[in-house]
Point group: C2
Chain length 511, copies 2
């Protein structure tokens, strides 16, 4: 599935009042200096000498490991050794979140996402010594410097590499967290770092790629924030941005641009829009923010109302056609109709809750009636007593079992077997993203399978740490570690907001 929607002459509908409130909530960025990498390799071998005295010739490669994931601005302090510099220095910098990115050749990447996301820069330095601060922001742990050109007369010396990291996360707001065993401690730490790196002027999906506010990611980031930094104003800003710039018919976009001005993208994902009422309800439960309830409840309800009005078939359920405009998980083959029906039911419950909070009990009851009807219809249409699980389009996908469970459609006591059946079905789509794995863990919890949930959290997120991650990734299938939904791992994001949920899951359920 290629997530490219283009609507000719699309103009978002903006609400200046809501956008003004979003702008007023723009966070201050905190800056931290990381003056030097923790370790170096020179041409693949550990550097024994002082990096500041190592003279590099044309063709040499210096790999600097900062020891942790960083988001920020990189500075190089460069000098020449030998005879007088008689030609520019020509450098290539590859910035990578994990070593695997460095093993790929950017020139041979031909995937459908833009190669412009690949963090490779080439610099000419006319005069040495020089202090070069690269103007762009990067997300990286590793910096590989390749000397593409010096001259026979001089060598290049890297007197220093440093990073001025930036994040809206305020470490002073992080409460003391309860002690955990080493495995969970490491998983929580990587989740916190993932979350903090994505907390920028908005809640970004990934600081390496997209660098943008996506609705599905926002909900999971917000859950992480409630369990850690508690910077609810940043969540509020993002909720206002989605309500402040929408499709002309009021639908919320899957993501919002903030530069040069806030603007809805012309991409609609029904599951993301349906998540907005859930995200708002969770925000209001955390904050009891009357202003947000006043401003955002109607925009939230409108998301669910639009799906009810446009996406249901004669059987009262999401049509397969309508289910094409949703994500659920990265998969080219997944039949999403039951999944999206599950998301809709959860959304209806959230809408009912939002109405109750506003004292609109009649309206709340109406949402509950629709949800109940959807539950009956979904069970009738997709539950297979013979298979012992939900079946859609011939698939016994785990995604479907998960959302039917979260939507309380799964028959009592049948979840464990249904999950097992789906996970073992060789011809059904596998879960590809931590986003989907999050909902799997919450479905296990909903089904009362707490031990299985914790074991899965340990093995799945712990697996990324075992593979060298110190942040969590956009995509991770332990059986296909090289997989990319984009046609090349070099553009994958390895610090991705929707993967931060161990912060929430551990805080809420496993500590």
């Amino acid at each position: 599935m290629e997530l490219i929607s283009i609507i000719p002459d699309f103009q978002p509908r903006n609400d200046p009042e809501l956008l003004k409130k979003a702008e007023a909530l723009r966070p201050e960025l905190h800056h931290t200096e990381y003056p030097a990498p923790a370790a170096y390799l020179l041409n693949g071998a550990p550097l024994t000498g002082n990096p500041e005295e190592t003279e590099l010739r044309q063709g040499d490669q210096l790999l600097a490991d900062f020891g942790r994931h960083l988001v920020g601005r990189v500075s190089l302090q460069l000098a020449a050794a030998g005879s007088h510099q008689d030609a520019p220095a020509f450098l290539q910098l590859d910035l990578a979140e994990i070593p695997g990115e460095l093993a790929e050749d950017p020139e041979s990447y031909h995937g459908w996402l833009s190669p412009s996301w690949i963090q490779r820069e080439r610099l000419h330095i006319d005069r040495l010594p020089a202090e070069e601060t690269l103007p762009r922001r990067y997300a990286f742990r590793y910096v590989r410097l390749t000397v593409l050109g010096t001259s026979p007369k001089y060598r290049l010396v890297v007197k220093g590499i440093s990073c001025r990291a930036e994040s809206a996360a305020d470490e002073t707001r992080l409460p003391a967290l309860p002690p955990l065993d080493p495995e969970l401690t490491a998983i929580r730490a990587a989740g916190l770092r993932t979350l903090a790196e994505c907390m920028q002027e908005v809640l970004e999906d990934g600081p390496k790629r997209d660098q943008r506010l996506w609705l599905g990611d926002l909900r999971l980031q917000a859950l992480g924030i409630y369990a850690s930094y508690r910077q609810t104003d940043l969540v509020k800003r993002c909720l206002y941005l989605f309500a402040g710039t929408t499709f002309p018919d009021g639908r919320m976009s899957a993501n919002v641009f903030t530069e040069p001005e806030p603007a809805a993208d012309d991409t609609y994902l029904a599951d993301f829009a349906l998540i907005y009422p859930m995200a708002l309800q969770e925000y209001l439960s955390e904050t009891d923010d009357g202003e947000a309830a006043e401003d955002l409840t109607e925009p939230a309800l409108a998301q669910t109302d639009w799906v009810l009005a446009h996406c249901l078939g004669a059987d009262g359920l999401i049509t397969r056609e309508a289910a094409k405009d949703c994500l659920i998980d990265w998969s080219d083959t997944l039949d999403r109709s039951a999944c999206l029906t599950g998301v809709l039911i959860c959304s209806l419950d959230a809408c009912a809750g939002l109405c109750t909070r506003r004292g609109a009990e009649l309206r709340a009851a109406a949402y509950r009636r629709v949800a109940a009807q959807l539950r009956r219809s979904a069970l009738e249409k997709w539950w297979s007593e013979q298979e012992g699980c939900f079946v859609t389009g011939g698939q016994t996908a785990i995604h479907t079992q998960v959302w039917m469970t979260l939507a309380d459609v799964m028959p009592e006591g049948r979840a464990e077997a249904a999950f097992g059946k789906a996970l073992n079905a060789l011809d059904s789509p596998r879960m590809m993203t931590p986003y989907m794995h999050h909902y799997y863990v919450t479905a296990l919890l909903r089904a009362g399978l707490r031990e299985k949930a914790e074991a899965h959290l340990r093995s799945y997120w712990g697996g990324m740490i075992a593979q060298g991650g110190d942040t969590f990734w956009e995509c991770w299938d332990p059986e296909h570690p090289e997989a990319s939904p984009y046609g090349g791992r070099v553009v994958n994001s390895h610090c991705h907001a929707w993967s931060c949920t161990p912060v929430y899951l551990i805080g809420r359920f496993f500590s």
Copy 2:
């Protein structure tokens, strides 16, 4: 021949007083705006529409022809068309003086000069619209923009490309020049442009590559300036720079760095050092500058004295060993001993002239005596009555005939036949550079062969124009138009100071 000299721990000897005078003569740069290219190609075909409305997709190439050679700073005005920009724009810019440079692949260049001179830049533009002014100075007529990355959602629009050209040449100082036939008019114009483009904060050898003050080039540039812009202060500044920073023993370097501070390179070329007295004498003849005569005569004489003391063998002539440290022309095989002896004789004559100017007649006479002795010895050793030309190391090279003529060693009336013999000798080195061809033309004039001299000027420099040059090149052998002394034409300089001499030759001899 690879012109790489490296002297460990080399420290130039600086004369602060002379360098202060050089600094005081730093010229003002004049800036001219070139707001738009004259023509465009899109993916190789002439662009029919308005370039400002042409939407470029990933992989597209836009070639802009500014219609003339420029030295300056390039600005791009960039915008996006289509859906909202959802990924950085990733551009490659190739800047070329002649189209032939664009036909070569920089990635496959493996010559001995640094690939850092290749004028290729890659840019990431995170936010469109954007105005990007590239920080480096380039020498170019053509700008090829390749869109390495947009995204499926948007196209790139080049709203404008412009150049802020810079040169120390003051067009208001250029006198009215006499009318010429079209061919000589075109040659003089290209020579003037070549000269002006190399007039920067110093007289650069080439604004694309090296961008530096070389002694052999300086003399020819100065001759061009006397016949055109008459900005003799810039010549004076360069003469002071060579005298102000030298080898510890007082020898002048073949070239001088000016950034970050003036510093002699650790490269000695005997022919270049020997040219300094000639360049000074010519400067004083033009200006009658008493301060320069006072300051620079002794440093000039020291160049010739050093060669006399260190480079002569038992026969009183330049040794083959000593002749390795000189240029004469780009050639791997040329036996340079007679050539350098010729340069030395010319240098001795100049020293005598400098002494006479200072009233030091005894010293002048001494230089003349040495020159006369060298002439006799050279004739005796290298003239072959049987061959009818000079022979060195088994070669009947044209270079040798030229310098023996310029040094007045060539027997009366024998030059024409000697030149013909040398030019037709298949096993002798060919002339590779306009620098050498300049001295060939002046040797023809010295031998009284004015028509041959003019015909050669027309065919040789006119040949570069016929090949598409609007400035003159560092290297040009009409029989090997693709030749490069560096292992790849992509690093050749196509606007090179030592090629500007038609300005002088036409002004002095052919108009």
